[in-house]
Amino acid sequence: MWDYTEKTKDHFLNPRNVGFIDDFDGIGEVGSLSCGDALKLTFKLGDDERIADAKFQTFGCASAIASSSALTEMIKGMTLQEAAKVTNDDIADYLGGLPKEKMHCSVMGRDAMEKAIAYYRGETEKKIEGEIVCECFGVSDVQIERAVRENGLTSIEDVTDYVKAGGGCENCHDKIQFIIDTVLGNTPRAAKKPEALTNIQKIKMIDATLEREIKPALNQDGGDIELVDVDGNRVMVKLRGTCASCSKSQITLKHYVETKLKELVSQDLVVEEV
């Protein structure tokens, strides 16, 4: 069981400002179903240019709901300049602290606030800045760098706790470590690649593995596979024969082809059907 403060429990059990303002001035949506949490924040300004009302809808755990509730309470009465300065730490502090593993809930509140203000100011939805580092949760290098800088994070686990990056397949851990090292001013250690392959070597090995290990197995079932392209660690393939129409083809692809290629060529490979 999580060690939630009384105030967090209170904001979960008696959430303030649940709902949606139909004639909102600003709206910010962050997160998704696949991420496991999401927040839709709306606010309305009063004549005095201060936030007169704020409402939220949240999908997520107790601390996500409590963080959203806290945020709406905090920003009421604030000017947008003031609201823009609310940090994720402020939200966590308001609740008397959050378990470390739940800090991403407060970050979600901050992000929704920023988006809602940007909407009000007519700034077109900013494309995700930077380059996606964590594919599982769609987190960019810019977001990770900001979380590290603002919260003084020093480890990959810290980054996962705050922005979720690295909490899925773990393939991006080297990149996250690189960002942490860069921010902390350490000499980034060379990404460890015990068996660094050149592109040509990699493609040759993938092709050989498909021919030798994978095709014969698929052929047994009347199926076949063709290598289309290799881009970095993305291996693009086409399924043929019975595989092409088989409802289990995605399972075959991920759990057989990908596993086999990871095992025999490189742990970093990801297989995609094109």
Partner: protein, 390 residues
């Protein structure tokens, strides 16, 4: 507030009869069962009886019963024994939905020189048996498939798998932690070579496990040292717990009928009523081949942690497959392996009953759940979206 305990796949109440049986061995009867004097020897005799009770629950011989400290130790012992007995073989087969005791060991071995095949399951959680059979090879040291899944209650055809595996001369192990005591098991008429049990899942205390090892199975001990357990597991016996395990084995035999009739009917009532009263809810797992005490119900568009905390307000204890409660950021590996959509996986609640549950408790839960789900859905942007769309 008295807890309404529906989390028996996590752990069970120690049966009062078991507690009674154990108590003297914490106080007056503290002798070492291996001692020459009668004071210790009497404890030894009691352990012998406990071993016979467990053997009788499994239709096994007493010498096929090894006492361990938990289900995890039994699993680890079995798998390590098989790979050490066949050092030339470098392949292991298990499934994608095992308990971490086997899954994480498999992943560890995969990084240490073994090829490990994780057999996939379909949307109902049923194993792809053809896939498993195709993977059997002369290089396979052991096949380990759980008897019943802890999260969904899905029962796997391990007897059938064991027969095919034996024909190939390969060792077969099953983690039967959730199955023993709930479904009849007869090792005398089985091709299973090794089977793991955990005491605290069947009303014995925590800290006691059993590994069944078929006579003649090649074995190498995991813990080395003294001669206890016939030299197969060193360390002074956990006398009180072994005695408790023996009593629990007797009790679950008595209760198995109740488990499969009354408890099953309670589970069915709970499940049917929840599905009827809560829109956008569904059952995870194989509806046909399922433990009588387990139901995993997915409530769409909300997150499990919130559900559990609101249930906790009423003292209702259950588990969730959601990310927030698993301590990781992704929903349970079992639900993901089954391809349960994210809309449902995050809001999955597992109710696991025992013989101690009553109809009043079931009615109470049926009554309290719909408003809990409704309350969280009112807060969920996805529920609002889904409502608008329909």
């Amino acid at each position: 507030m008295k807890p309404i305990y529906m989390d028996n796949n996590a752990t069970t109440r120690v049966a009062p009869e078991v507690v009674q049986e154990m108590l003297p061995y914490f106080s007056d009867l503290y002798g070492n069962p291996s001692s020459m004097h009668a004071f210790g020897g009497n404890v030894g005799a009691k352990l012998k009886a406990a071993r016979e009770h467990v053997a009788s629950l499994l239709g096994a011989l007493p010498e096929e019963i090894l006492f361990t400290s938990c289900g995890t130790e039994s699993d680890s012992t079995a798998i390590h024994a098989a790979i050490r007995a066949h050092p030339e073989k470098k392949h292991i087969i298990t499934t994608r939905v095992e308990h971490p005791a086997v899954k994480n060991l498999g992943e560890h071995l995969a990084k240490n020189g073994y090829r490990v095949t994780f057999v996939p399951v379909d949307r109902q959680g049923r194993l792809d048996l053809d896939y498993l059979y195709k993977k059997l090879s002369d290089d396979t040291a052991i096949v380990s498939v759980m008897w019943a899944n802890n999260e969904t209650g899905t029962i796997f055809p391990v007897e059938e798998i064991a027969k095919t595996v034996r024909e190939r001369g390969i060792v077969f192990h099953t983690d039967a932690v959730q199955a023993v005591g709930k479904i009849p098991i007869d090792m005398a008429d089985s091709a299973i070579d090794m089977l793991s049990i955990s005491g605290h899942k069947l009303h014995a205390p925590k800290g006691i496990g059993v590994l069944y090892i078929r006579k003649g199975t090649k074995f190498a001990p995991f813990l080395m040292g003294g001669h206890q357990e016939g030299g197969r597991r060193a360390g002074t016996e956990n006398s009180a717990s072994i005695i408790g395990m023996g009593r629990a084995a007797q009790l679950v035999m008595e209760y198995m009928d109740d488990e499969n009739t009354r408890v099953r009917a309670l589970r069915d009532k709970l499940e049917t009523e929840l599905l009827k009263r809560v829109p956008n809810s569904m059952v995870n797992g194989d509806p046909e081949n399922r433990l009588p005490n387990t139901t995993s119900v997915a409530f769409e568009f909300i997150e499990g942690e919130g559900i559990l905390l609101l249930m906790d307000q009423y003292g209702i204890c259950a588990s969730s497959g959601s990310a927030c409660t698993s301590g990781s950021l992704e929903p349970s590996h079992v639900l993901r392996a089954m391809g349960v959509p994210f809309t449902a996986a995050h809001g999955s609640i597992r109710y696991s009953l025992s013989i101690y549950n009553t109809e009043e408790e079931i009615d109470f839960v049926i009554d309290k759940m719909p408003p809990i789900i409704e309350r969280l859905r009112q807060m969920s942007p996805f529920w609002q979206q889904a409502q608008k769309a329909s």
